[in-house]
């Protein structure tokens, strides 16, 4: 069955068939014509059945040729495929790209053993082989290969640095690429979830070993006042108590040297503070089966301060705001070229700054709720407003402003964005009759405000990331160069807005934007990959007989095209020779 509706050309060509038939039927209908006498027409006359109303159409050969030609073109337009028998099958290899494949057992990693197996497999190379890297997302590698040298070249991309292996997704992709006809080989370090593999085209081979492993599964460094607070979480993925030494270094100085004793399959967290000025912190465990998860690097957290100018005429309010801003710890010491201006006037303050306009409390009404809060807004995060009395002028929203907080139909807090991307907030608030400033919601609101403003300023959002995640970068339109730990670099031409940087390798990344350089550290923190207890060696499933016949779909468009061409040539010849009957 040809799915005509999915082939508009075929549908159009098909529609021409009744049109052609109609043309011929109308053209070949019996035209009445008076003649002098039927005496000359008494020959070879078709017998007319008595009372018959339907007559067989006398259609010329050309009609049938045109009909056949159109039909052939219809079928050709539908892109027909024929299944042709093939004696051998192509191979699609799914490679586990997670970093657990790097675990070493008897001086050989699972990745190396899998590569050896592949090389032996290529002694009798399949007709064509494709590779799929099973990282957090399956990725198809280039074109099919036919020999080991080509395969070895492709396998250079198999680095095993992914924090996870989506093998099931990779198998699904392989089945789709192979049209359910190709053999699929999975090379990994663990067994399948279902021990019995029902797919006759799937073979699963594992080259891992159940090894004991101590790993760092969590690490962070956050701003904590004037200091940085570090968290390290170490897990013992073995069946017995393990003792290990943790070394924390800042540059060449030892910050901490701790002997850890962690029970079977237990975890231990270490939290400690270091001076904020400490540049790069490195924590490492003693080498074991998987060395990649024994080492983390933590850079100082991104501390963005916001330059705020408070331009309120009311001294009491100004003092209140200043105290609140200082309490957030996110305010910069200087207020030149402010990034946020808090004012009462209607005029815009600053050229590149956000503004918070404090509405003059004229005709104040006190609201005790309920308050309608846009919880998806960055300013609303953490606000509860329980028991709050909010005094505000009873007014309606000005055009273009989107309310964030409402009391009935009175906007208490609203925001709008201008053409330059600046945010302008309006706070309808009379502290004289309100209790908001005496509740935790008050500092939360201003902390949210400064945090939001800081997040919108150029630079990295974070300086430490997990392997495989994306690091967000706010750009100002300058070209960005990212240098990876393996010293390869990627240049992003002028970009504006947010840029998400991939982290395929662990280590230190440098981001060059104009004259400034930012760095961030990427650490392989993945508990599932560090847990080698489920790794094993073995084979599950096997391909059916290699010599069994299979069918491969081959396009047959050219056959129908050639046939249509032959029909058209015949049509032309008959027309030229006058033998077509019309």
């Amino acid at each position: 069955m040809i799915p005509f509706l999915t082939y508009p050309l075929a549908l159009l060509a098909l529609a021409s068939l009744p049109a052609l038939a109609a043309i011929y039927i109308l053209r070949n209908r019996f035209r009445r014509r008076p003649v002098s006498s039927l005496v000359l027409w008494r020959f070879n006359v078709q017998s007319k059945p008595g009372g018959a109303k339907i007559h067989r159409l006398q259609l010329p050969l050309l009609f049938f040729l045109e009909l056949l030609g159109l039909l052939l073109l219809v079928v050709a337009a539908a892109g027909p495929h024929w299944q042709l028998p093939q004696s051998t099958r192509p191979l699609i290899v799914v490679l586990d790209d997670s970093f657990s494949m790097r675990a070493v057992h008897h001086d050989l990693s699972a990745q190396a053993r899998a590569a050896d197996f592949l090389e032996k497999l290529f002694h009798q190379p399949p007709p064509s082989t494709r590779f799929i890297l099973a990282g957090t997302q399956p990725r198809l590698l280039d074109a099919p290969v036919r020999g080991w040298p080509e395969a070895a070249k492709l396998l250079a991309q198999w680095k095993c640095w992914s924090p996870g292996a989506a093998i099931d997704s990779a198998i699904t992709l392989a089945a789709e690429i192979g049209r359910q006809q190709a053999n699929i080989l999975v090379l990994t370090d663990h067994g399948p979830a279902d021990e019995k593999i029902s797919n006759p085209r799937l073979e699963w081979r594992a080259f891992g070993a159940p090894l004991d492993n101590l790993a760092m599964v969590n690490a962070s460094r956050t701003a904590f006042g004037d200091q940085d607070r570090c968290l390290l979480e170490i897990a013992n993925y073995s069946g017995e108590l393990r003792t290990a030494q943790l070394l924390v270094q800042a540059g060449s100085n030892d910050v901490q040297r701790t002997t850890l004793s962690i029970g079977a399959r237990g975890e231990q967290r270490l939290v400690f503070n270091i001076p904020a000025a400490t540049p790069l912190l490195r924590a490492s465990l003693e080498p074991d089966a998987l060395v990649e998860d024994n080492d983390v690097r933590l850079l100082p957290p991104v501390r963005k301060r916001v330059r705020v100018q408070v331009a309120l005429t009311n001294a009491a309010w100004s003092s209140l705001i200043n105290q609140t801003l200082e309490a957030t710890g996110l305010r910069a010491a200087i207020s030149d070229q402010p990034e946020l201006v808090i004012h009462e006037s209607d005029t815009m303050a600053g050229s590149n700054s956000w503004s918070l306009r404090w509405l003059s409390p004229a005709g104040t009404t006190a609201y005790v709720g309920p308050f309608i809060l846009d919880n998806s807004h960055p300013l609303a995060m953490g606000l509860t407003l329980e028991g709050v009395v909010w005094a505000a002028a009873a007014c309606t929203n000005t055009s273009g402003e989107i309310p964030i907080l409402l009391a009935g139909n009175t906007p208490l807090l609203s925001a709008r964005e201008d053409a330059l991307g600046r945010r302008h907030l309006t706070l309808n608030f009379n502290p004289g009759l309100s209790t908001l400033q005496n509740t935790p919601d008050w500092p939360i609101l201003f902390w949210n405000l400064l945090q939001w403003r800081a997040a919108e300023s150029p630079g990295l959002r974070e300086s430490n990331a997990r392997l495989g995640t994306e690091v967000e970068l706010k750009t100002t339109g300058e070209p960005i160069t990212v240098i990876r730990p393996d010293d390869t670099s990627t240049v992003f031409p002028k970009t504006g807005g947010d840029l998400a940087l991939e982290t395929p390798l662990p280590g230190l990344y440098s981001v060059l934007a104009g004259t400034s350089t930012n760095r961030f550290a990427v650490n392989p923190l993945a508990a599932d990959e560090s847990d080698l207890s489920r790794c094993t060696t073995g084979q599950w499933g096997a391909w059916s007989e290699e010599t069994e016949r299979r069918f491969q779909e081959t396009s047959a468009v050219w056959i129908f095209g050639l046939a249509a061409l032959a029909i058209l040539v015949t049509h032309l010849y008959l027309l030229a020779a006058g033998k077509g009957g019309r």
Partner: protein, 288 residues
């Protein structure tokens, strides 16, 4: 009468002014007229002498011969006759076929022959077939004065003859104008027409559509006289068969004409003026 036929009559009359009917010698008999007959008569043209017989008009005795030879001898003079043209028109509907000029051509030929007969000092009668043969009103007048010339009969001339035969004048020249498209043996028809005639001419008048049917396609052919219809798919073979049928029909009429001593020609209605030479070639007309 159809204005187109009236116009064709006028046109034929003008054309006929250039021709005169050729009268065969055998036809030089008839009513007393202005044309020399083949027998003795009362004209002033001397023809012969013969012995006087009782009853001869004494006014024609040549008294000079009696004085010289003492024998009564009478002078014989050629008679003066008026030859006659019987013009027989096929009044069937096929002579007024749609999309052809057959009716106008038939009227034109009739007017032309009438004018040519006048030029040849012939009298004429115009017979139109229909429910029997009827003389056309005012047929002795110039053709512009003719009336009721209509081709709407469902009967062939042969059938009309059976109903009411025309009263032809003996030894007249008879001309049949018809498309001759009816089945049957033409010989009996021709013999009846030829009987008592000095000469018989048959002019077959066909339309272009009669000669050249459509080349290809499905055709529902409707007989304009009987209304009978047949459906035919025309291709090259059928076209050849049609042409063969027409040729056989014409050949049968030509053979019958030969047997009866008649002369036949075929004209195409739409090419009438170019075909008038055919009427000269069968010695029906001569330049006036």
């Amino acid at each position: 009468m159809d204005p187109a036929i009236r116009q064709a009559l006028n046109h034929g009359e003008r054309l006929g002014g250039r021709y005169a009917l050729q009268i065969p010698q055998v036809a030089a008999s008839g009513w007393t007229g202005s044309r020399s007959g083949r027998r003795t008569g009362s004209s002033i043209d001397f023809q012969d002498y013969r012995e006087y017989e009782p009853g001869d008009d004494l006014r024609f005795i040549d008294w000079g011969i009696y004085a010289r030879s003492d024998r009564l001898t009478v002078k014989l003079f050629r008679e003066e006759v008026t030859p006659h043209l019987d013009l027989i028109l096929d009044g069937s509907r096929s002579m007024n076929l749609e999309n052809t000029a057959k009716a106008e051509a038939a009227a034109g030929i009739a007017a032309l022959l009438a004018a040519a007969a006048t030029n040849a000092q012939c009298t004429r009668s115009v017979w139109l077939s229909g429910e029997g043969f009827q003389r056309l009103p005012n047929d002795t007048s110039p053709s512009s004065a003719w009336d009721s010339l209509e081709f709407n009969s469902q009967r062939t001339p042969e059938q009309s003859y059976e109903i009411l035969a025309p009263k032809f004048r003996r030894l007249g020249v008879r001309v049949l104008v018809s498309d001759l498209l009816w089945p049957g043996n033409p010989l009996p028809t021709l013999r009846r027409l030829r009987d008592g005639a000095a000469a018989l001419f048959v002019i077959q008048l066909l339309g272009r559509d009669d000669v050249n049917p459509p080349e290809h396609g499905n055709l529902r052919a409707a007989d304009c006289e009987t209304g009978e219809e047949i459906e035919i798919y025309i291709d090259a073979t059928v076209a050849r068969q049609y042409a063969g049928n027409l040729a056989r029909l014409q050949q049968s009429w030509a053979d019958a004409c030969r047997q009866c001593g008649a002369r036949m020609t075929t004209l195409v209605a739409e090419e009438l003026e170019q075909s008038l030479g055919e009427l000269e070639s069968i010695q029906l007309l001569a330049p006036a």
